[in-house]
């Protein structure tokens, strides 16, 4: 068969969001790939220029709705760095706990999407069932299940509810038991390994040069984690390890995320034990001086997120810039796809964990 360009998307039961992946096929082999994003562009950065600083926090939620707390926290960190605010300790611990719970939730959502792409709805339903527990925890905390609006500039919105420790303890114990089940559904299934091993290989050098970060980079052997290399909140005081694998194929990226979920449980347990009492919300200044800049970077579940703000002298920002990790990883997609068959595309792009909200902003 001659070479042809095939459009996978924008309307496609491929899950993951609204984007178009054009692949050039020679029979069944991919010889070229051309991802097209931008269907979900909402003008976020421009909208942010017309709003007061507290009003942007619910908008930051919707940057990546699968991991909303992470982006809220990134935005609040940016503004706090610009205004040079020192967040109270209790707020830092609460934020860390909530961020790690959000990381587990986001990885479970990734696992669910991967299951449907590969054809197993069982994995999807089991992961989503476990995610419900974490959503219930967040609902007890701040009243919403998906877009939380919980972090504030200078702390968090409200204090933890009663039974916080008991609920978290129960959920984490139950979840670690279920992880064993989930892993045996996938790790020890030869079909899963057949599909994921030796597909989508990207070497550490290539990933670094292309700017890939997060679990996608750690799956290729590079040990870079913002929580360890440039600690923020209380990560500097907690004891955890960076999860990484050496092979660089889809299975390695999958393993990195499963290990990260276990490490997150570990982090949450430590943080709950060490949480001090005290204030949890600081009264932020209204205005930021004209020309003052601030930036922050965090380890988002999908990579390294980065935000940069320039103040305007009043209570609107002059410019707010967002660097989304998946936007950069999409440009690495051709490297991961060329040479493999078209039936491998869901496995590869599923292991990369696309979230279109943050890509297109």
């Amino acid at each position: 068969m001659a070479e042809m360009w095939l459009n996978m998307g924008p309307q496609h039961p491929f899950t993951h969001g609204l984007w178009n992946l054009r692949v050039k096929l020679d029979g069944e082999t991919i010889v070229d790939a051309d991802p097209i994003v931008g269907y979900l562009h909402r003008g976020w950065e421009k909208l942010a220029e017309n709003r007061m600083y507290p009003q942007i926090i619910p908008m930051a939620d919707r940057l990546c709705y699968g991991a909303s707390m992470s982006w809220e926290h990134l935005y609040c960190n940016t503004i706090e760095n610009m205004m040079e605010l020192e967040v109270p300790d209790r707020a830092k611990y609460i934020r860390t706990i909530v961020l790690e719970a959000q990381r587990i939730g986001s990885h479970l959502m990734w696992l669910a999407a991967l299951g449907t792409d590969l054809g197993s709805y069982t994995i999807f339903l089991y992961s989503v069932r476990e995610r419900e527990l974490f959503l219930d925890l967040m609902q007890n905390l701040c009243g919403a299940r998906m877009t939380y609006n919980y972090c504030r500039i200078g702390g968090v919105r409200n204090d933890v509810p009663a039974n916080f420790e008991r609920d978290f303890d129960r959920v984490l114990t139950h979840f670690l038991n279920r992880m064993n089940d989930l892993e045996s559904l996938m790790d020890r299934s030869s079909v899963f390994r057949l599909r994921m091993e030796d597909t989508g290989v990207i070497s550490g050098e290539q990933a670094r040069n292309l700017g890939v970060t997060g679990p996608n980079l750690r799956g290729s052997g590079v040990e870079y984690d913002v929580r360890k290399d440039d600690p923020y909140e209380v990560y500097g005081d907690l004891d955890f390890r960076t999860c990484f694998e050496k092979e660089g194929d889809s299975f390695a990226r999958y393993r990195v995320r499963m290990d990260e979920m276990r490490e997150s449980c570990n982090i949450i347990r430590q943080a709950i034990k060490r949480m001090p009492k005290g204030p949890y919300r600081l009264k932020p200044p209204r205005n930021a001086p004209k020309g003052k800049t601030g930036w922050a970077h965090v380890e988002d579940p999908r990579g390294e997120g980065f935000m940069y703000v320039i103040g305007n002298g009043d209570d609107h920002p002059y410019r707010l810039k967002v660097r989304s990790p998946i936007f950069v990883t999409v440009s690495a997609a051709p490297v991961m796809l060329i040479g493999y068959k078209i039936a491998d595309v869901p496995a590869i792009m599923g292991s990369v964990d696309m979230c279109l909200g943050e890509t297109d902003r």
Binding site: M4, L6, M8, H12, P13, F14, T15, E28, G115, T116, D117, L118, G119, S120, Y121, T122, I123, L125, Y126, R129, L185, S189, V191, F192, L194, R195, K341, I342, A343, D344, V345, P346
Partner: protein, 357 residues
Amino acid sequence: MSLYSFAYGLALWICEVIAWVFNTIGATGIGGWLVTPGVVEFLQIIIVALIVFIVGFLVSITFIWEERKVLGRLMDRRGTQVGFLGLFQNFADGLKAFIKEIIIPKDVDKWVYDAAPVILIGISCFMIGLIPWGPDFYLANLTNGVLLVFAAFSIAPFAILIGGWASNNKYTVMGGMRAAGQLISYEVPLLLSVASVVVLSGSLNFLVIVQQQQDSVWYIFPLIIGFIVFIVALIAEIERIPFDLPEAEAELVEGWMTEYGGMRFGLVMLAEYVRAYVACSIAVLLFLGGWSGPSFIWPEVWFLLKVFLLFAFFIWVRGALLRVTTKQILGIGWKRLMPLALVNLGIAIALRMTGVF
């Protein structure tokens, strides 16, 4: 009382009633002709065919219900809830397929596009009639029953290929070719396993095979490798997960069925489940002893029970495993199943030659 004798009695009664009507109004010629054995036998065959077809059809539809409920339980959810225990869902789906608008894309090859689902459902319904349910409940007792069923089974790749090609769509062409490749390459281990059963029993007649299994042992025990090969090849033939790639939703939308809408799609889905029913029935007849079992339950009920249990096993396999890619499907078909099927055939020939069977 066998099905044919019951149908003969019914046909005779109907013919006599109609003949009485004609005799009363005075047309004794037609009335006399109607009770001749030729006409009654003709009506008898039609009644038997109707009964067998309707029963087989209803069982296929019940397969859909069983799949949804059992799969739901596997995945920690309830299956369909429409109607009593969810049984009404099939009719709701059928009604929905009926009332949808039929959209035909512009540049399709009209005759071929129309012919593909017709061939598929026609072949599947033809196969329903060839499956005997009990020693007295069958439509046709052919000496070459097994051969004819598998011949009809193998026309499906042809229908899928022309359906995919005629739809004028890149995705469906790829889906059709993949499906044809998969189905054709799994025919070989399938037929080799069947050949081993035929070697052991010495006949191609379903009734004789089941009778032999009742006399000796179910053929699953000496031919366990053949059974496993047969089951895997069967899952690939009826296109279920894990061998689902021709209809893989994640990549090719619906595969070769993408451009079929409304009742055409309903017929194609129905054909899939009818083929699944026929496949499970053949597996039960050839390996699991057909309708043999304790005599306090009717043999037809035993047969149905075994078929449903085997299909539950297929659903279990679907719930637990993922889709396999084309390269791996063909690899499994040729590199792993073929040698095992040949080994199995060797075992069967050895058992037969040494006189054990």
